[in-house]
Amino acid sequence: MPNPILLIAVALGTAFLLGLLEERRRRLAWAISLAALAFLSWVPATWLLALATGQAAPVEILTAGAPPPFAINLRLGLAEAALTLLVNLTGLLTTLYLKDRLLDLGRRAMAVLLVAVMALDGLILTRDLFNLFVFVELTAIATAGLLLLSDDARALAAGFKYLMVAQFISVLLLIGILFAYHAGGTLNLDGLAGAPSVLGAGQGWILEAGGGFAFLLMFVALVAELKPFPANGWALDIYESAHPAFAALFAAASGTAALFAVDKLLTIGGSEWLGAATAIGLATFLIAHLCALPQDNDRRLLGYSSVAQTGLVLVGIGQRDLLGDRYFFVAFGLLAAHAVAKAGLYWLSGLMAERGLSAWAALRGQPWLILAFASFLALLTGLPPFPGFYAKWELIHHLAGADRLAPLGLILLGTLIEAGYLFRWFGYVIKRPPPASAPLPCPIHQALPILVALVGAWGLGWLWGELSGQTQLLLTWPLAFALLFLLLEWLPSWVKNTLAIAGLLAFFAATYDYYDPLRLIFALIFLVGGAIILLAGYATSGQRTGFYPSALLMYAGLAILVLAEDSFQFFAAWELLTIGSYFLILRGQAAEPHALSYLLFSLGGAFLLLTGFALAAQGAPQLALADLGGVPASLSGWVFVLLAIGFMTKTAALGLHVWLPGAHAEAETDVSPMVSGILLKAGLFGLFLLLMHLGRQQLYGIELTHVILWIGALTALFGNLLAAFQEDAKRLLAWSSIGQMGYALFGLALMNHLGWLMALMFVINHYIYKSMLFLSLGGVAKRTGTRDMYRMGGLITLMPLSFIAVLIGIIAISGVPPLSGFGGRWIFYNAILDTEARLPLVILFFAGPIAFLYLFRLIHTVFLGQLKDEHRRVREAPFWILLPQMLFVALLIAFALVPGVALRQVDGYIARFFPDGGLTWDGLSIVSHYGYWNPVSIMLIIGVIFMVVFAWLLFVNRRAQKVKQFNIAFAAERPYRPETTHFAWNFFAPYRKALGFLTLPLATRFWDTLADLLHAAGDLGRRLYTGNGQTYAFHFLAFASGLILWGLGVRP
């Protein structure tokens, strides 16, 4: 095993060796420094492997041969090995990235780079305070020097501001160290920490005269290195102006080293300083994210993000007493995620010509860069399967266990804001027009670091999966299958489509016997239903890059969701399907803002779920879903509320519904049915589990299921009402989905046997007819080129199959007898006879007939009425879009005839929770406690009567003269033009006069003002950094004196 001192020696040696080379042998100098850095990375790698596998123990390196108090000792434990590996690897890749720049500047720049890396390694390894000070100063000098690498002239000013603050830090640190030495008798960290060291100095040094004050000074100085709020103006200027490669090194490497320095310091400080560290970390985390919202310069935005992430790691460090042995897993998880992501993003930024966020749209030239960009963003926001996700899961659970709810809430709020501006940026990259400049230059020496970062990200994801003790997400079948498609992007789309459908069906067949009847229905809809909708994928030609990985990511999430046993699997699946569906929706033409609002609502809901599960788990790493009911009464009310709101964001209950119309309407033709028909059911599945285990809950005396009852009823009313006033066909369907989900929510909240059966009936029905309608209208929109209903009309003759699909769909939705919609209504009526909550029923009865309004409007304005000139040559929708529709028609009719097939087992299953009030299935008729219903005979009778009357009309009216669209009785001699004769625009004008006041967009206004407030806060916050070096210095002193005053208050 190589002696760890080589880390310092080789770096320094090479730095001086470069001096010997002539000036012109630059390429050789660069090669030597690369080799040195490679060796420097190899050393900690071998140590890390050995330490991790237990073959070696942490080693002390005694410089000058004497034990600590008389000489400086360096330590190489597991933490130090990992951190030095991270630092040296970043250094290596940065040097590789800076090839051109270094070859211009010559060997002196390389030497400074090597010294910087050596200083950071030293900072990590040293156990001696003054040595710490020396390495801090070395880092400062190296950083100021390396800033000049940048070709941005403003880097000079940034460097000077940095040096000013560095001087302040060095003064405070030096005095702190001296007084610590004066009080503690030794400069060695272990000695001061009271660890049984040679001198045996007790823990009491801090109580010595000046010891506490000394520690305080050191604490202030080292925390200032971590760019805390408000003293981080200088850091942001460095991030904005420095060369992106150096910014990567600065963010990843020096951030890491500084954090570990603070961590070492806190070991000797006692636990009351942890609270201070957490507070500073949280403040920095939140305010930096807020200030990042209004940013448009990519590097400054990344600067704010890295400042915030460092704050988050500081919070992790602050919670070390709480985390115990999981501390290293959490802290290093957050740190590694931040370091790899930030380095990768800065390297990407190096490729960009302009600094605007939408300039990154040039990434679209290289699909693998898009994957890298997305991975880094997911890494930062802590989405599965990356380390941040596991780390945050542990952190939140420990915080919830110790009842520290404020930091928990603030962390999640900050992460949500971060997800907001990062994925807004991702939306720009995918959707905004790329800048006019040349396509992205991506030479090998700049592509390699990004590739290594990407591989590192996924590697860390896999590693953290192993270490987490939870299920290793990357090895679960669905997710692995989805990621496989990342590699198959070069295949034509029909091959991938076949593969995807086969995969879904195979997974369903394989896991068939794991499902209980309830989960079987949801699995059927998620997997087999998904496969049917994927059939529509054959209609698109070409490669369709990006569609299949995101679609299968969503289906993977859904597949794991149904099979989840414990809260971790459930939550991981929830986030996977959120991300997958976000990428899917984002593919829509004008879907960017809507996809973002969808993601933010879903992630907000997901974080509520996370808090709910954490509270329920009470400190345990995860909670089996089965014993969700075992939560103590004091907590169960809050757990119910949190989980319920989380699930209701996914089913777009009233107030949380603003994302749905845009997201479902703007998505692509075959994405809308997936998102609307399948994804909404994930929320319902969650609610089923919640109500199944937690049942009726009280909070401050309010019956929570009663509240959901009201929410369901109101959602049904407003969903249907607003659907009637939409001009865009797909928005009408989206609003209709909100209404239908309101019905399902109502059914669930009835908390009786038939209520749940009704909800399930709605789940199945809604999937079938909503997917069918979205597909058919997508086909119509594809053929007619518009989604506005008043522009279409008279398409029944040209698109008969689409008409049939829509006709069957609206008959089913409206609940008119022959089809399965009536079954849902019949069970609904029987269910409400059992409950005592009567008032919400009035709203639901009112919502029922309103469904007719938008249904008739949909089919009349699109298929009936006057055919427009430009649509006279419109062809029928593509075959592959029609096939799923016809399948759904068959399914609907079959489900209408024999609902027993789907509902009988589930009826028995629900009997376990609500024994009385079930249905009895004798023969073909279904009998409930109140009434009976015989679907087959209804269909038969209606069919017979219809045939008889039809035959009678045929007999009486054989030779009807087929006429065309203007052969109508028209008082003004003849109709003017088809557009003026087609009654479609503002179809329910009188209805709007009567009930228009109900359609005021209150919820949308509320959420918009909230977003504007956040932006205003961000804009106000960032005004703090005026750019004047002296102001930054003043901020630092204000921060230092504030902390010192606080410190004096704390010391007993």
Binding site: I141, F160, L163, S170, V171, I175, F179, L236
Partner: protein, 121 residues
């Protein structure tokens, strides 16, 4: 009569405060750099003052102070060593600040710190 250590500490801290005051109020870069050198000198004085013990001599082992008797006769050698490194580092940082100030003056033609405010918000 305050003893020598207190005087030294007082002057050290005084110099540090003067340095900070100068750095915060003066607009010219050179004056700021000068203020910082004052502060670091102050720190060095404090370092040396910390190690001082009454009635003891400098920690130089020569024929007057042999290795055996050194323990009783010399003051605490550690701060003496540290101050050397501190001075060297102070020199390095000051040199770098001067280089930055010079390049800034070449580019902007002014030494007023308020002039370099392109990087803000």
């Amino acid at each position: 009569m305050p003893n020598l250590t207190q005087i030294a500490l007082a002057t050290g801290f005084g110099l540090i405060l003067i340095g900070f005051y100068g750095a915060l109020t003066r607009r010219s870069l050179l004056r700021i750099i000068l203020a910082f050198t004052l502060a670091s000198t102050g720190v060095n004085v404090v370092i040396v003052a910390i190690g001082y013990m009454r009635g003891r001599t400098a920690p130089i082992l020569d024929e007057a102070v042999t290795t055996t008797t050194a323990v009783g006769r010399i003051i605490d050698p550690l701060p003496q060593a540290l101050v050397l490194t501190a001075i060297v580092i102070g020199l390095g940082v000051t040199a770098l600040m001067l280089a930055h100030a010079y390049r800034l003056f070449l580019r902007h033609g002014t030494l007023d710190i308020a002039a370099f405010r392109e990087l803000k918000w």
